[in-house]
Symmetry: C2
Subunit: 189 residues, 2 copies
DNA sequence: CTTGTCTATGCAACGAGTTGCATAGCAGGA
DNA sequence: TCCTGCTATGCAACTCGTTGCATAGACAAG
């Protein structure tokens, strides 16, 4: 299970509370691994119980205390072990592709709005990634010689950028196809 | 839940047994939605119980009977309803990206073999998709004017091709990065 | 002064997905 | 002959992931 390992990596990059992790999972890490706060709290509790993580209660003024988690030695070892194991190349779960094939049995033109909406989301994500890349890696405020960790984060971000660019281009292709067949051919049903 | 709908689409394209569906999910449909035979049998049983599918026992010589499922009217209606609902743009679950970021806390060079293995898998899938595209859509044996369903299947396949091409290129980028930082910089641990 | 939002954590229930195992006949190779 | 593998279906147990709800103090807007 990779959620454990995603949390370990994130805590090694920067210790933090469950709440903070949940927000990171909405941002950088979450681009490649999503998780809700419930999942995160449950996994943190389990990993702490198993001695992979250390907790420290941090009092805050005007707020409930937060539990700051950091990676203990056994957690680091568990991550290292996982890094040396092969993982399965992932398979996609692409609802929209199912819908596109399904549109043949309904009205293809009715899907245009939905595809446009997805295109917008991916286009926004792309802009967001590009802004992050400029801020952290390629812009004037970026650290001059990147260390290994930053190089790797940048490489992963380039993957996200390539993915979103590819997706936007593909959805444009799909839209053109839907408009082409929406005209001449009648819906199948 | 999209497994139901993926099954409906697949059965509309071609009725078949659970076993046949499981094999389709290893091929075309499975490129965008994976499922094991257990999942498929369970969902087929539920959908039949709910009247979305019709079953027909087909005797076979030298083999156990197979249950051929096809989509009943309520199933078609359920699919149509889903097609008109918005779905969430999916988020990735990319183990390898987690590993790449995690490599900063281990030996980056140790990840090269793993990344090469993934590159090979994606490169094979790409070749496989391209062969399928030539066979079904662009080659001399393809149907001359494609109908709407075929146009849409082709559009989805083009998405798979674009995805695999993008992934192979990105993994090359990652490999170059790993080799670059593997030399000068020492492992963090 | 009440309502809503943000930080911060968590329980309980459910549904989705995975893994291991079982059955059963037939075909082909060592 | 025995072992492996393929077609064909399914149960049981488990883990993973999602959804709804709850608590609780601080702060801002209406």
């Amino acid at each position: 299970m990779a959620l454990d390992h995603a949390i370990l990596v994130s805590l090694l990059e920067q210790p933090g509370s469950g709440y903070e992790l949940a927000r990171r999972f909405e941002r950088s890490i979450g681009y490649f691994w999503t998780a809700t706060h419930q999942q995160i709290y449950r996994v943190l509790a389990r990993m702490e119980r198993d001695g992979l993580l250390a907790v420290r209660a941090v009092p805050q003024q005007g707020r409930p205390d937060k539990k700051e988690y950091s990676v203990a030695a056994p957690g680091r070892a568990a991550l290292a072990r996982w890094l040396h194991e092969p993982v399965e190349p992932e398979s996609l779960r692409h609802d929209l592709a199912v819908k596109i094939r399904g549109a043949a049995f309904d009205d293809p033109a009715a899907l245009i709005g939905e595809v446009e909406r997805h295109r917008q989301v991916h286009s926004d994500r792309l802009a967001h990634y590009l802004a992050g890349e400029h801020r952290d890696f390629t812009g004037p405020d970026a650290p001059a010689p990147l260390d290994a960790g930053q190089e790797l984060q940048h490489a992963v971000l380039r993957g996200g950028i390539a993915y979103e660019r590819m997706t936007v281009a593909w959805l444009d292709d799909v839209l053109a196809t839907l408009r082409r067949i929406g005209g001449p051919s009648a819906p199948d049903a």
